[in-house]
């Protein structure tokens, strides 16, 4: 295999997967925040009704 420009190819693939990984992380964090908020509201509503 021709290994010229390996370093830049490595940066490229790392950047591509990193972008997806960071987005998945933000999705996971936002998902748990929304779930916690929903639970809190439901509990509060139950107490007040």
């Amino acid at each position: 295999m021709d290994s010229r420009n390996f370093a830049f190819m490595f940066y490229g693939f790392t950047a591509a997967w990193l972008i997806v990984f960071v987005y998945v992380l933000t999705l996971v964090r936002r998902g748990s925040r929304i779930r916690a908020e929903l639970k809190r509201h439901e509990a509060l509503l139950e107490r007040r009704i």
């Binding site: 021709d2 010229r4 420009n5 190819m9 490229g12 999705l27 998902g31 929903l38 007040r48 009704i49």
Partner: protein, 223 residues
């Protein structure tokens, strides 16, 4: 049920993309002039196709929202737009890294790259705009109009290499095995897009539920 579909699509997408990594590194032949850097093409091109597919869907959902005023279409539009921005960022980053080796510069202000950057900024602007409007109906309406405006940039990006002389290469004749790998990578990215958009759509609906609960009289004086 929707969760299960999202995770199944994500798993399928991951399998296809990992299999494609094997093809890209172990099966595809070397390119005589560029060395290994040309292999970024297998992610750069499908990333743009995927992003355009997603922003196209966003425009359709935005149009459907304006026609029906059903907030589910707005939720679908924002979900696919957010995922589209991930692939737009990936496409432009990979292009820039490829350009650094092939052209000797990270960036060139030619018609293709400039219109592509405008596309990224427009969809980033769409998401920022949404955060600045509190009322759901108004947010959905203004965002839908903005999305229909932003989609006008996509044909400019697509055809810019035909309409103007650009630093960016013209469409190339590729051997069938390269097309095969490119299309499979697009398929993997499309599966991943569907999975991420479904997860994001669930979150948008849950967020809307939270917002509507905040306005219930029973919770009006909480905290």
């Amino acid at each position: 049920m929707r969760d299960k579909s999202a995770y199944t699509l994500a798993a399928l997408g991951a399998i296809v993309l990992v299999r494609n990594l094997y093809l890209i590194f172990m099966v595809m032949p070397d390119e005589a002039a560029q060395g290994m850097i040309y292999r970024l093409l297998y992610f750069h091109v499908p990333a743009w196709w995927t992003a355009f597919l997603a922003v196209g869907l966003s425009a359709i959902f935005s149009g459907l929202y304006l026609a029906t005023r059903n907030l589910r279409y707005d939720a679908l539009a924002v979900s696919v737009t957010e995922v589209a921005l991930v692939f737009l960022t990936m496409g432009i980053t990979l292009g820039s890294i490829w350009g650094r080796i092939t052209w000797g510069v990270w960036w060139a202000w030619d018609a293709r790259l400039t219109s592509a950057l405008i596309c990224v900024l427009l969809y980033a602007g769409y998401l920022m705009l949404r955060r600045s409007i509190e009322e759901p109906g108004q947010r959905a309406r203004i965002s839908a109009v903005f999305s229909l405006f932003a989609i006008l940039d996509v044909p400019i990006v697509w055809f810019s290499i035909r309409w103007w002389r650009t630093q960016h290469p013209q469409p190339m004749q590729l051997p069938p095995e390269m097309w095969h790998t490119l299309l499979w990578n697009w398929f993997g990215m499309a599966l991943l897009t569907a999975a991420l958009a479904l997860i994001r759509f669930d979150q948008e609906e849950a967020q809307r539920k939270v917002q509507s609960m905040r306005h219930l009289p029973q919770l009006a004086y909480r905290d």
